[in-house]
């Protein structure tokens, strides 16, 4: 019986080392949400009036509103980056090394997913610290209670990336994923505006937002940041995470996986 923990640790460590080596990625991951927070939000705060909705108990600034959404964005980008690196691994051959390890394939993929989620969570915390320096702070306990929410949201979005990677034939097709996954998921969610605002302008868009798993990931994070729990968001995140995981395992199944065509 092959011991699993050393393999798990090695796969996670490799993901972290890889992230640290890619300085541009590290920088971009931090700068992207900060630009949204400090530039976009500053412009929009005057245009958007927010009423008091749970979990908030007082009026809040727009910057405060979008902070959980930007944590979600970090995890979403991170999930897609993972997907990209998996496709890259497959083209380069290191995926073969991983998949020929004498361990169950689901375990190898799950380890990879955990590594990616861990990196996403580090980025979220770095972002929250910097946001705090700019005066956007939260209940101190919220920094702790947000952790399980980040883990679940990170795993769900990572599983989505994993599933997508199993269906992308080549690295070149990746730009399409950005356009058709990241942007619709992000903009058709509660990350930038509350859903009731969306409902005012379009009922249809409201419903799309309401079923978008990313909305629920963001709400899970938002409530957790205020030491609160949204059971509906939790349920949606778990169900979506389960579905994406099943899809990823199906995509990587050796009996029918797409690896067969590309090697």
């Amino acid at each position: 019986m092959i011991r699993r923990f050393p393999a798990f640790r090695a796969i996670v460590t490799r993901e972290v080392l890889r992230f640290v080596h890619q300085r541009e990625r590290f920088l971009a991951a931090l700068v992207r949400p900060l630009v949204w927070l400090l530039v976009f939000a500053a412009g929009f705060r005057a245009a958007l009036g927010l009423s008091i909705i749970p979990p908030y108990e007082t009026y809040i600034t727009y910057e405060t509103y979008i902070t959980p959404g930007l944590c979600g964005m970090i995890l979403l980008f991170n999930g897609m980056q993972t997907s990209l690196s998996l496709v890259y691994d497959r083209e380069m051959g290191s995926m073969r090394l991983l998949l020929t390890a004498p361990l169950p394939r689901w375990f190898l993929l799950f380890s990879k997913l955990c590594g990616a989620t861990f990196i996403g969570i580090l980025q979220c915390y770095a972002f929250l610290v910097i946001a705090g320096l700019f005066g956007i702070d939260h209940p101190p306990l919220g920094y702790l209670t947000i952790l399980p929410a980040l883990i679940l949201a990170g795993l769900m979005l990572g599983a989505l990336g994993l599933a997508i990677s199993s269906f992308i034939k080549q690295l070149e097709n990746f730009a399409g994923v950005m356009n058709f996954v990241i942007f619709p998921m992000f903009f058709l969610s509660s990350a930038l505006y509350p859903l009731w605002k969306m409902k005012e302008s379009s009922e249809l868009l409201y419903w799309i937002c309401a079923v978008n798993p990313f909305t629920h990931a963001v709400e899970l994070i938002r409530f957790a940041l205020y030491v609160n729990l949204s059971p509906i968001a939790l349920l949606w995140t778990l169900v979506a995470g389960g579905l994406f995981t099943a899809l990823a395992l199906w995509g990587y199944d050796p009996a029918r996986g797409m690896i067969r065509k590309r090697g």
């Binding site: 092959i2 050393p6 890889r18 073969r96 991983l98 390890a101 004498p102 050796p254 690896i259 090697g263």
Partner: protein
């Protein structure tokens, strides 16, 4: 021992392997010779369980790859055609990563990794990034890595691609030595000078096994290159 029986595989309508059966024995260097497109890479993908096929059977050191995939994979060392070192990691980190994938860690892994580095005479360079190694050394590192978990069967999929003549000869000699020490070796290639007269030979062409036996007995004194070309119509194809 590696046993393959009645293995077939097709990509949609295109038959890539058709009823392939052979045995690679311990202590023998078995060369799988075939022109490009013969089905070698498909065979290796099936042998390493990158994907599976419902027809045929593969047994590695007594373990059925379909029934007991983990035991079979644990008994197998693989050198892939594509480079699989992480160039941004150090040589030692690359070897540790692989050892951990096989459940090895701590002192046990360190001892084996040091032994592998000593065999390559690059222990003093273990802290360097893999990127600093030349092509020949990278391949040798991959070979040493494939042996860390002490497999019984070594699969090499055209491991000399892209290497100069000297590095090619060094690796080919090294793997012949490993076979003499008792390892089961399956070595895919399309280069006849990597095969010795005493090696076992499998000729794969258009997805079917065309010849199987001891190289010198199959060729009957004819240079292997001529024999290979005459059996695979490569000359005819090249001339048209």
């Amino acid at each position: 021992m590696l046993t393959v029986s009645d293995l077939s595989f097709s990509y949609g309508a295109k038959q890539a392997l058709d009823g392939v059966s052979f045995t690679a024995r311990p202590g023998r260097f078995t060369a799988l010779l075939g022109p490009n497109g013969a089905g070698k890479s498909t065979l290796y993908a099936l042998l390493t369980r990158l994907f599976t096929t419902p027809t045929g059977q593969i047994t590695v050191a007594g373990h059925d790859l379909a029934q007991a995939p983990r035991q079979a994979l644990a008994a197998m060392g693989v050198v892939f055609q594509q480079p699989t070192l992480d160039l941004d990691l150090t040589i030692r980190q690359n070897l540790s990563y692989f050892a951990a994938l096989h459940g090895l860690s701590g002192r046990d892994a360190a001892v084996r990794i040091d032994a592998a580095l000593d065999r390559l005479a690059i222990r003093d360079r273990a802290g360097e990034k893999a990127r600093a190694l030349n092509g020949g050394h990278r391949r040798r590192t991959e070979l040493a890595r494939a042996l860390i978990h002490r497999p019984k069967v070594l699969l090499c999929d055209e491991p000399t691609v892209g290497l100069d003549a000297q590095a090619r000869a060094a690796i080919t000699d090294h793997v012949h030595d490993l076979a003499e020490d008792g390892l089961t070796v399956l070595w895919a290639t399309h280069l006849t000078d990597e095969v010795r007269p005493g090696d076992d030979l499998l000729l794969l062409h258009h997805g079917r096994l065309r010849a199987e036996g001891r190289t010198e007995e199959l060729t009957g004194g004819q240079p292997l290159k001529d024999w290979f070309l005459s059996r695979t119509d490569v000359q005819v194809e090249a001339g048209t």
